[in-house]
């Protein structure tokens, strides 16, 4: 319990930085920090395999992808962003706080599980592999097809249309 009490505020601080930092690259790096801390959280509560996957996919791939996209594109005007801040904060909070209130109310009334152990035993990677390639095999194959399609689609989107005369350049 104590590690959770230390770790969760840290994650929230990093996430707050990702949401609120005016410099886009700093925000993306703070997102990477928050995602890495969430991976540590998974390791602490016993979901070892998910923690490792979270670290590889989110920190290693998605966060790096976001940082590189920010470096490729031109960031917006920082001064304009700062001037817009107070107004957008008011509207943003007006939309978000009711959602938070509903969520916290729902959590405070969350179903108690009388038959639940204090915590379920953590799983080994062998168990995960066993389940993954027996009961969940169709889903694994589907995800493989999806990722192939996504890879082709993303390459098609991101290519420079001027380079290949076979495709009409979309002006």
């Amino acid at each position: 319990m104590t590690p959770l009490l230390i770790l969760t505020p840290l994650i929230l601080l990093a996430a707050l930085g990702a949401v609120w930092n005016a410099r886009p690259v700093h925000a993306a790096l703070l997102l990477a920090l928050a995602l890495a801390l969430i991976a540590v959280l998974y390791l602490i509560i016993g979901a070892d395999f998910i923690g490792l996957v979270q670290f590889m996919v989110y920190v290693g791939a998605i966060a790096v992808l976001i940082v590189f996209s920010l470096l490729i594109t031109r960031p917006g005007d920082e001064a304009e962003e700062l001037a817009r801040r107070p107004r957008s904060l008011v509207t943003g909070l007006a939309c978000v706080l009711p959602v938070l209130a509903i969520l916290v109310y729902a959590v405070s009334r969350v179903v108690k599980f009388p038959d639940a152990p204090v915590e379920n035993p953590s799983v080994s990677i062998a168990q995960v592999g066993q389940v993954l390639f027996t009961s969940y095999a169709p889903a694994v194959l589907t995800v493989g097809v999806l990722l192939t399609a996504v890879m082709i689609g993303a390459a098609l989107f991101a290519r420079d249309p001027g380079k290949n005369p076979q495709f009409p350049s979309d002006s």
């Binding site: 998910i50 992808l65 904060l89 969350v110 993303a154 991101a158």
Partner: protein
Amino acid sequence: MTPLALLLTFSSLLFTLGLLAVLTRRNAILILVGIELMLNAANLNFIAFWRYGPPDPDLTGPMFVLFSIAIAAAEAAVGLAIILMVFRHTRSTDLNRLDSLHG
């Protein structure tokens, strides 16, 4: 406060922060940052219910999160590719400037 309640409250806050980023940011890439935070909050709920809920020999919670992470990676790749394509056309990722379809 039980660990389950703590984790659920924490993920509610994380989800709210992500929603705030989506609503207040104007840079399309930083809106994706908010979406990633919301996805992580949802994944955390699955893990919390698996860990502190009734026994679950099928590992439904971790498996759902595993597939959710795979889909999130696909979503981020396609999303960023689309944003790069838009940037190539308009030289900007500011969503307020992408109004050429407005009526």
